[in-house]
Symmetry: C2
Subunit: 235 residues, 2 copies
DNA sequence: CTGAAAGCGCTTACAG
DNA sequence: CTGAAAGCGCTTACAG
């Protein structure tokens, strides 16, 4: 078998055969190159480069018991707010060598549950979820399996449930306080339906600021102290 | 072992044990339920439902040789055009029982190549790609492995390369023709840099329409015959 | 209709 | 430093 043998390479086994080493050694070149003698390593690397061998993640993950993938379940990717979340999540995932599953629940609890189930099947390392209403029942499965789940844009009732969310009460307070601080006294609040938590929270914040009244009677320059600009059209 | 045994269920083996059947039978219940006797099937299904067993996709895919996942590599998810592509792709994937990897090349050929490689490792069933400039070299690997790749928003030079793209020349022609048909004679064309193919193509289409001149001297009602509205801010 | 067994392609102790 | 071997959790012919 000549060293320029380029016959079909699919396996790590084929690589081993062409390089004249055991598959364990090929695997070591891939995963712990420092444990392999330089000359052996170079030979194997040459074969890999020349044949374009790519390892099979399914086999790798099955053996290792983890997949280095995470799932993102959002209500609607078209919504700029979630698009930004998706973009940032994908960025962060990549930086850590993870791949991201994009799942669009489209407002359907059934789709949401189906996705969560599918993600568990995929053995994802973690899940980012924008829950629709109730925390879905499948969450128990994830919990039981120890799959980390982080709620996005929604605080959780459960004390042991991680979540990230904007403090919209504070946002409303900030906005109204700013207006008060520059001397405004007749303030209008335009929003969407109060059934959207974010909107109701901002109103509560605005009211709190109004109740408190202007703090100090100094004027800040116009255009300064923008507040509450976390509103990215979720309403 | 009582039938209410709920001890840790991780395996299809655990399910088999609890249900008192072989793992082959459990697999059959999952994949070809019609081949299993009703009473056996029901028993197994009961155990699966009660224990919340979820199968391991890594093992399944390794054995089956295919993953039912597809990769989407876009230049920028934040761009509304690609967001819409992502959304639609994800929808279609879900409808066919596939999961979608979201990959944001962010204008970097290196990231693009790395993603393509990662997707090959994942053994994706197919790839949707918005190429940055040149068709990347990794494409050869995909081609060699027979992984289907569809170029998005970009026609390919290679005759055997699938692609979907808007006919922007036609779009520009349509827009200019419309203006001509309603009697406009002094037409301005506002666009981005000509180095963006879409923009240059539209200009070519506009010019073609102007060269051809007004076809018929009839007026269509205002607001009719909108054309070239496929421009979703790619420039 | 059901079970036993092989095998998917890797990684990882374990010997040598 | 290297190789042989077990095993990750499934699916799928193949017997029975």
């Amino acid at each position: 078998m000549s060293t320029t043998d380029t016959s079909v390479i699919h396996d790590i086994r084929d690589v081993a055969r062409v390089a004249g080493v055991s598959i364990g050694t090929v695997s070591n070149v891939l995963n712990r190159p420092h444990m392999v003698a330089d000359t052996t390593r170079e030979r194997v690397e040459e074969v890999i480069a020349r044949t374009g061998f790519v390892r099979n993640a399914s086999a790798r993950h099955l053996r290792q018991g983890r997949t280095r993938t995470i799932g993102l379940v959002v209500q609607d990717v078209m919504n700029p707010f979630f698009t930004e979340v998706a973009r940032a999540a994908e960025d962060a995932a990549t930086d850590s060598g993870y791949l991201l599953y994009l799942c669009n629940s489209a407002g359907s609890p059934e789709k949401e549950a189906a996705y969560l189930r599918a993600l568990v099947e995929q053995q994802v390392s973690g899940v980012l979820l924008t829950p629709l209403q109730e925390i879905p029942a499948v969450m128990n499965t994830l919990r039981a399996r120890g799959t980390p789940v982080v709620l996005v844009d929604r605080a959780s009732e459960q004390p042991d449930q991680c979540s990230t969310a904007v403090d919209d009460v504070h946002g409303g307070d900030l906005a109204a306080s700013h207006l008060l601080s520059i001397g405004r006294r007749r303030i209008a609040f335009i929003s969407s339906t109060w059934s959207i938590r974010q909107c109701a929270d901002r109103r509560a914040g605005v009211r709190r600021a109004l109740r408190r009244g202007p703090a100090v009677r100094t004027r800040s320059p116009a255009g300064t102290g923008r507040a509450g600009d976390d509103d990215a059209g979720r309403g």
